[in-house]
């Protein structure tokens, strides 16, 4: 049971566990395992150094691997981190925020070109000649940080300023896009703001623009640096009144300020939104679905409890996530496998359990598109439609076919690993379902044994083991039961 709980924890707070991962975590108490996952800053962040090293999954590029400037390489670097990181919760929360503040590479690259578009989405600051920090690095840095702090950083993030048109928001012509989504999707939610609030929010953020500076580097005389800038001359200084309180005294009007002080308008609005109880409840609902259970609506007591931690901690996401992972509801076996896996979660867990040596992340990119989840390209600012929306017939076939590709790639290694189980089809099935773990094997066990026994008479030869081990991996990974985490 303890092992089942640790496996559950690794599926939810990480991307599943490889045999080696279980070796690390199964020696710990549950509380110690949660502590290690949540306090990941104690674990070295050295995963990128392993890219290209033997023993790790491979990558495929057109030319050199350039994850800071080529979007498909950035996708592969992120998948590499998900698979091999020793800080799995940090990557998982980064993915959560990517969906929460869903920003699409195509619009950003349409504005600044593919290289700079990739930089703004994914550049690692220490790798970039101009110290540009991509949006996902912002999410990683603040993955378990403070919500108000994160909202302010996102509002000033160059990719976001392009994505929701903040870079063109001026007092002459206020731009509503960011202000609307800030209230509808990033904080309080639809139904808790009015159209007049949208117009007011647009004016609040007038002058929150983007500065693009030509900054020659030794290798690129035309290199550009992208920075948030507050332009007082573009700011609307009149007071802005909202339908909800902005200040702790209940005041709902952001006062008229000198243009030079107008940056504070946006800080006031974001601070109010971050502290609002509906923001807490909305985020609580999303985190519950992400971590605990997607098949039943949470009770209002559960949401109140999570939202309460948010409010008492002043919007500290680490405190909120830690309380979720330590809750009785999370640890109860009725929550196991009650979460529809996202395509990237399915792909990474499949590799963790089946194997990755000799496999390339380049092979996952096009299947992920067919499964409905291309990293850095959410369908719109509301992010991906989750849960059952991942499971159309076409998207399910894409999962089954990825399972086939991975199983074919790993057939020799699977057969070698399963050598001790070559006595009979039953032995082989037992080995495989122990390694590749669906929600339940109850209804599929007989079919798997029948499949393993079908075709040529059982000899346990190398060729037969390769065929049937990979065939079983394909069937298990492609089953309905495996699509849950």
């Amino acid at each position: 049971m303890a092992d089942a709980l640790i496996e559950h924890l690794l599926r939810r707070a990480g991307f599943g566990g490889s045999p080696a991962d279980f070796g690390v975590y199964s020696t710990m108490s549950y509380a110690a395992a949660v502590d290690r996952l949540v306090n990941y800053e104690r674990v070295p962040d050295d995963v990128d150094a392993n890219i290209g090293q033997p023993g790790y999954v491979g990558t495929t590029s057109n030319g050199p691997f350039l994850p800071n400037t080529v979007i498909n390489d950035a996708r592969q670097r992120w998948l590499f981190r998900m698979l091999h990181t020793n800080r799995p919760l940090q990557e998982r929360m980064t993915l959560f925020w990517h969906n929460y503040f869903a920003t699409g590479y195509s619009k950003v690259s349409g504005a600044v070109g593919p290289d700079d578009g990739t930089r703004l989405m994914a550049a690692k600051q220490t790798d970039d000649p101009l110290r540009q920090k991509g949006q996902m690095e912002l999410f990683r840095e603040k993955a378990l940080g403070n919500m108000r702090d994160l909202l302010i950083s996102v509002a000033q993030d160059p990719a976001m300023l392009i994505w929701l048109d903040g870079n063109t928001n001026t007092k002459r012509n206020p731009q509503e896009n960011f202000g609307r989504e800030l209230m509808e999707l990033f904080s309080r939610g639809v139904g808790f703001y009015t159209e007049n609030d949208v117009y007011a929010a647009a004016r609040v953020f007038t002058g929150w623009n983007l500065q693009i500076t030509r900054t020659p580097t030794p290798t690129n005389p035309n290199a550009l640096s992208y920075q948030f800038i507050y332009r007082p001359e573009n700011h609307e200084t009149a007071a802005k009144t909202f339908s909800f309180p902005i200040y702790s005294d209940g005041g709902s009007t952001i006062p008229s300020r000198a243009a030079s002080d107008g940056l504070q308008d946006g800080i006031d609005l974001i601070s109010a939104l971050a502290a609002h109880p509906e923001t807490a409840r909305r985020l609580a609902g999303k985190l519950y679905g992400f971590f605990v259970n997607e098949t039943a609506s949470p009770s209002s007591a559960t949401i109140d409890q999570i939202a309460g931690v948010y409010r008492q901690s002043g919007g500290n996401i680490k405190a909120v996530v830690q309380s979720i992972l330590l809750s009785a509801e999370f640890a109860d076996s009725s929550s196991f496998f009650m979460r529809y896996s996202w395509p990237v979660e399915f792909v990474v867990r499949s590799m963790k359990e089946t194997g990755w040596t000799g496999f390339s992340l380049g092979t996952t990119l096009s299947p992920l598109v067919n499964m409905g989840q291309q990293l850095f390209e959410p369908p719109d600012v509301a992010g991906w439609d989750l849960g059952q929306s991942w499971f159309s017939t076409g998207m399910m076939l894409a999962r089954m076919n990825f399972a086939s590709t991975l199983a074919a790639n790993q057939k020799f290694r699977l057969a070698t690993a399963a050598a001790s189980a070559k006595q009979s089809p039953q032995e082989l099935v037992s080995f495989m379902v122990d390694r590749i773990t669906p929600a339940s094997i109850k209804s599929m066990y007989g079919d798997l044994v029948a499949y393993a026994s079908s075709g040529a008479t059982w000899t346990g030869s190398d060729a037969q083991m390769q065929t049937k081990a990979s065939g079983l991996a394909h069937l298990i990974l492609g089953s309905a039961e495996y699509q849950f985490i």
């Binding site: 048109d165 063109t168 928001n169 001026t170 012509n173 731009q175 509503e176 896009n177 609307r180 639809v190 159209e195 949208v198 999303k286 679905g289 997607e294 098949t295 609506s297 529809y340 409905g372 369908p379 719109d380 600012v381 509301a382 439609d385 989750l386 849960g387 059952q388 929306s389 991942w390 499971f391 159309s392 017939t393 076409g394 998207m395 399910m396 076939l397 894409a398 089954m400 076919n401 086939s404 590709t405 199983a407 074919a408 929600a439 209804s443 599929m444 079919d447 499949y451 075709g455 065929t467 990979s470 065939g471 394909h474 069937l475 492609g478 089953s479 309905a480 039961e481 699509q483 849950f484």
Partner: protein
């Protein structure tokens, strides 16, 4: 969109795990009680700027309020005047649609919307999808129509086909399976042992067996298991679509290829009658550029025009045009006055297109006056946005009653029929 998920979740408790065995090809047509008819719903995602699609090129306020986005009168494709006498023109890039209009097979419906129009993409899409402005989280309007047929006969999983990545809200309904297939090439069953004789067949049989155990006490597992079953059961028919050879060359973009696939589904007669297709990018807050050679809105119109023209000609050549109706929608129109980013923000009413061999072409509805005077009754939001004249549910009612032979009052939950909108 957590609310939508909770809807689906509620729906699944009543999910029917079985699906139709063969003989489905004619089931839908029989249930329709009408000749075999195809319906294609086209979603212009992002909120289409109707005033750039159908240009009121004699309204001085149009040019005053759109100093950079106004389309010069000399370039619009004039298609006559509406019943109020206001001359109108299509966007200059819509030459194919102008020709179809000239053949009397395109209806342009003006100022379609509803009261208190939502300016949210998500709520707006939900409202257009459900046709229930007051409660837009339930089943979609096409889904409810399919559901009403299901009462008479169990629907085949390919009865409805969404040529997009996920089931559109308009097609969702409890117990109604919708094939979501953006591309038929990847809709196939692979095996890791293709070189081992017999193995692919054994794997396929095993996958079907595994999916046949549907735990009805666990709706989430049942849902995915049923999806696998339906995928397995439809592989061979979908593969047929890939063998379709169109009579025209479709544009090599997502929209054009999706329309080619839909024409293939129709031509191969694999049983689907209701389709969903989308082309996006209409959320033109900035640099909308309605006239430049490579302007953002010009590219949107090019994609729309070239795809629809190829589809129209292909269906005409194969004799399927008279059996087909295409209806477009978008979640809202856009603000009349352009913003400082040379774009337009979220607005209210917009235009719809209906295209097909039995469409009564022409201009339906009357244009708004764009006079910003807050008392102007054709505008709302203090003269900021175009207000609706035709309830979108009236357009749906025409499709349900006149085209599908259904009962719009029962599907839409009220009588929205409008005789002036009998475009088919």
């Amino acid at each position: 969109m957590i609310t939508r998920r909770s809807f689906i979740k509620n729906g699944v408790t009543a999910f029917t795990v079985g699906f139709a065995a063969p003989a489905f090809v004619s089931d839908l047509a029989r249930a329709q009680g009408a000749a075999s008819r195809n319906l294609v719903i086209l979603d212009l995602g992002g909120g289409n700027d109707g005033l750039s699609t159908l240009v009121p090129y004699t309204d001085p306020f149009y040019y005053n309020r759109r100093p950079t986005l106004g389309i010069p009168p000399a370039t619009v494709l004039q298609i006559g005047s509406d019943s109020s006498g206001k001359p109108l023109g299509l966007h200059p890039r819509l030459t194919g649609l102008r020709d179809i209009f000239g053949q009397g097979r395109l209806a342009v419906i003006q100022r379609v919307g509803y009261q208190n129009s939502s300016r949210s993409h998500f709520t707006g899409t939900d409202i257009w999808s459900t046709a229930i402005p007051s409660n837009s989280q339930g089943a979609g309007w096409v889904g409810r129509y399919l559901s009403s047929l299901q009462a008479q006969t169990l629907l085949d999983p390919l009865a409805a086909w969404a040529a997009v990545g996920e089931t559109p809200h308009a097609f969702q309904a409890s117990g109604v399976g919708v094939a979501t297939i953006p591309n038929t090439q990847t809709y196939a069953f692979a095996s890791p042992n293709i070189l081992v004789p017999g193995e692919p067949q054994l794997a396929r049989a095993a996958a079907a067996n595994i999916a046949s155990h549907v735990p009805i006490d666990q709706p989430h597992l049942a849902f995915v298991g049923t999806t696998v079953q339906q995928a397995m059961a439809t592989l061979d028919r979908v593969a047929l679509v890939g063998t379709y050879r169109p009579t025209v060359i479709y544009p090599n973009n997502g929209f054009g290829q999706a329309l080619q696939m839909i024409a293939g589904v129709m031509a191969k007669q694999i049983g689907t009658k209701v389709f969903f297709v989308q082309t996006g990018g209409f959320d033109t807050h900035a640099s909308q550029d309605t006239t430049g050679a490579n302007g953002a809105y010009v590219r949107l119109m090019a994609t729309l025009n070239d795809g629809l023209l190829a589809f129209y000609n292909d269906l005409k050549n194969t004799g399927l045009l008279t059996e087909t109706l295409l209806l477009s929608f978008s979640e809202f129109g856009r603000r009349i006055t352009e913003n400082g980013s040379r774009g337009t923000d979220h607005g209210a009413a917009s235009v719809m297109f209906a295209m097909g061999g039995l469409v009564r072409g022409g201009i339906y509805g009357t244009a708004a006056s764009l006079d910003p005077n807050p008392g102007n009754p054709t505008l709302e939001n203090g003269g900021g946005d175009v207000t609706f004249e035709n309830d979108f549910r009236a357009a749906y009612a025409t499709v349900i009653d006149n085209w599908l032979g259904g009962n719009s009052a029962s599907v839409l939950g009220g009588n929205f029929k409008k005789t002036s909108l009998a475009f088919v």
